[in-house]
């Protein structure tokens, strides 16, 4: 093996430009695969962290009548939380309409405890405010409704009896989050205020669990833990990974095709050399091994070349992040202004194995032809 490696290395280096072209393409494939996977992993982790911090907490206790994917359930999907329940922060969700600059905008009104700390929603702004009905909104909402801190806007809602009522609310804080689920089309109010204006005293639609919450069977309420709630996010990321993998698999296929092509050409052009190896005492299996190792060495050289420019690139991107365009912020899942690629050991090892094994297979396929070669004809360089 050592001998075959030495010879294969010499042959590759001796082949000059042809080798380096293959190595360049393959190393590019290496870096792109790692980059895209790292980007997805970085996005995944950022999305999860932000979603947990801003929306999920340690899970949601949901009223049985409420389905977050069905807005029609908002009307009746709430109830009184049992007195025995602890370590949760109740949230009441109702529908409403605001009239910024004469326009009519449907919103979700979310009442949250002013003292809660489980979510990043800056509810302390309620405490500091002296407004009659203070409200907090996110950047997306502020932008779409053209609202800023200090603005008053007319809010209309229905109380528990179905009667419409209206009042001005004051924007006391605008928060910046990557999580659209707590921002787009939503207005956060103090829970006490929402209870009062709707008449739904002590009622909640959901309750955000904190780390000390212990799930116990509660009649009329259903608990979804963090893992379950993140399942959708995981599936979306996984789907995006698969779609991006098509691109890097194409790139890898091009690189492997280049190796395959080089191997076929090499075996065709180097028949005399193959005959010489056999005449000098190598077995055909040894020559097949030599050519296969030559092919797989491309991946080793590509890995080294990829490290030379890939490692500094990944370190740089890991520190500075990759800026995401503003338009992409409104897509279905949490997307930060910047994503920091995560290049882990598992990703690197998996990519190395994928590329090395693929390169070895595409090198072996043409090389196995050598085992059927007639050494006499090979020495004459005759096409076989």
């Amino acid at each position: 093996m050592k001998l075959a490696l030495q010879l294969a290395y010499k042959n590759l280096i001796g082949a000059g430009l042809r080798t380096w072209l293959n190595v360049a393409v393959l190393s590019f494939a290496f870096v792109i695969i790692i980059f895209f996977n790292g980007l997805m992993d970085g996005w995944n982790q950022q999305a999860k962290t932000d979603t947990i911090a801003w929306e999920i907490g340690f899970g949601h206790l949901r009223n049985d009548a409420y389905d977050p994917f069905d807005p029609f359930t908002l009307q009746d999907g709430h109830g009184k939380l049992p007195n025995t329940i602890e370590n949760v922060s109740p949230v009441l969700i109702q529908q409403g309409t605001i009239y910024p600059e004469g326009r009519m905008v449907s919103v979700l009104l979310k009442g949250i405890e002013t003292s809660q700390t489980v979510l990043e929603i800056p509810t302390d702004a309620f405490i500091k405010s002296t407004a009659k009905i203070p409200a907090i909104i996110g950047n997306r909402m502020a932008k779409s409704a053209n609202l800023k801190v200090g603005d008053e806007v007319l809010l209309r809602w229905r109380d528990k009896n179905g009667t419409f009522d209206a009042s001005n609310i004051t924007i006391v804080s605008i928060f910046d989050t990557t999580v659209a689920g707590v921002d787009a089309g939503q207005i956060w109010l103090p829970l006490q205020t929402l209870w009062e204006i709707t008449g739904l005293q002590n009622e909640a639609t959901i309750a955000i669990a904190n780390k000390n919450f212990v799930d116990a069977s509660l009649d009329g309420w259903n608990f979804e833990n963090r893992a379950v709630m993140l399942k959708n996010l995981d599936e979306i990321i996984e789907m995006k990974k698969i779609s991006s993998s098509i691109m890097y698999l194409l790139l890898l296929a091009i690189a492997l095709l280049a190796i395959f092509d080089t191997q076929v050409l090499s075996i065709f052009r180097r028949q005399k050399e193959i005959g010489t190896y056999i005449a000098l005492g190598m077995t055909r299996a040894q020559v097949v091994k030599l050519f296969t190792i030559e092919g797989s060495l491309y991946s080793i050289l590509a890995m080294i070349a990829g490290c030379i420019y890939g490692v500094p690139l990944f370190i740089y991107l890991g520190k500075t992040g990759i800026g995401m365009p503003q338009a992409s912020q409104d897509m279905g899942i949490s997307l930060a202004d910047k994503i920091y690629p995560i290049v882990g050991v598992q990703l690197i090892v998996t990519t190395i194995l994928l590329v090395t094994i693929s390169a070895t297979i595409v090198s072996f396929l043409p090389a196995k032809k050598i085992s059927k070669m007639n050494p006499v004809l090979a020495l004459k360089g005759k096409l076989q």
Partner: protein
């Protein structure tokens, strides 16, 4: 005392040509002793190279038995025939067949790499072989940086470095000018005398024939004449 190291009994070799067959060798019976300096002479298509390929275990006869170093080449496995070539047979080719990406030193060393010698042993043996052919100064040169004559001398060093019992040279001077051809042949004769290696040539070059101690004339795959030159000279 000489002993038989190549024993060819009723060797016939046929090749498929289209739907028919071409008989390249027909019932060849020959013996070669250790240390012989012999050549197969004949026109193109007479079977010289085919016979050398069978002796070198690169090919096997269609009929008959070729015993080389006591081994029947037709019955050897790939590994056994590779071992036979690796340890007992050296090859010199018409176009030298040097490995282009290796230096002169590495080309010569290649034969030893397959024999598991230590690096120090290999160095000693390679430098000795290069000294035999007078090329120690060119050890670091690549084959494309040396002349044809030097290239063939490297090929001789590569073939001889492992001290084989048999050296097979297929038209070794065909690509050389007269001066280089004589240098090469004298060198091979000297090695034959010093190391007692059996040299077998195929040639139709008069210059080569001058050096032969035995000439086997082949025509249409058959032995036409088998002349022991030294014996005649001795008379």
């Amino acid at each position: 005392m000489k002993n038989t190291i190549i024993n060819l009994k009723n060797i016939t070799k046929r090749f498929k040509v289209g739907d028919g067959e071409f008989t390249a060798l027909n019932n060849i019976n020959l013996n070669f002793q250790k240390g012989e300096f012999a050549g197969f002479v004949g026109p193109s298509g007479s079977g010289k190279t085919t016979l050398l390929n069978i002796i070198g275990s690169l090919d096997s006869p269609s009929e008959g038995q070729a015993l080389v170093m006591g081994k029947d080449v037709a019955k050897l496995s790939h590994r056994e025939s590779a071992d036979l070539r690796n340890y007992h047979i050296g090859f010199i080719f018409q176009v030298y067949n040097l490995l282009p990406v290796y230096t002169v030193y590495e080309n010569v060393e290649f034969a030893l790499l397959l024999q598991n010698h230590t690096k120090a042993e290999r160095h000693k043996m390679v430098m000795e072989a290069l000294d035999w052919v007078g090329l120690t100064d060119l050890a670091d040169k690549k084959p494309d940086r040396i002349s044809g004559g030097e290239g063939q001398r490297v090929a001789i060093a590569r073939a001889m470095v492992k001290r084989p019992e048999i050296l097979i040279a297929d038209e070794p001077t065909a690509n050389l000018d007269a001066e280089n051809a004589h240098i090469i042949l004298k060198m091979m004769k000297r090695l034959n005398d010093e190391l007692n290696t059996t040299f077998l040539f195929s040639t139709h070059d008069e210059k080569v024939m001058q050096y032969m101690e035995r000439i086997v004339h082949l025509r249409d795959g058959e032995v036409e004449k088998d002349s022991i030159i030294v014996a005649e000279k001795d008379k």
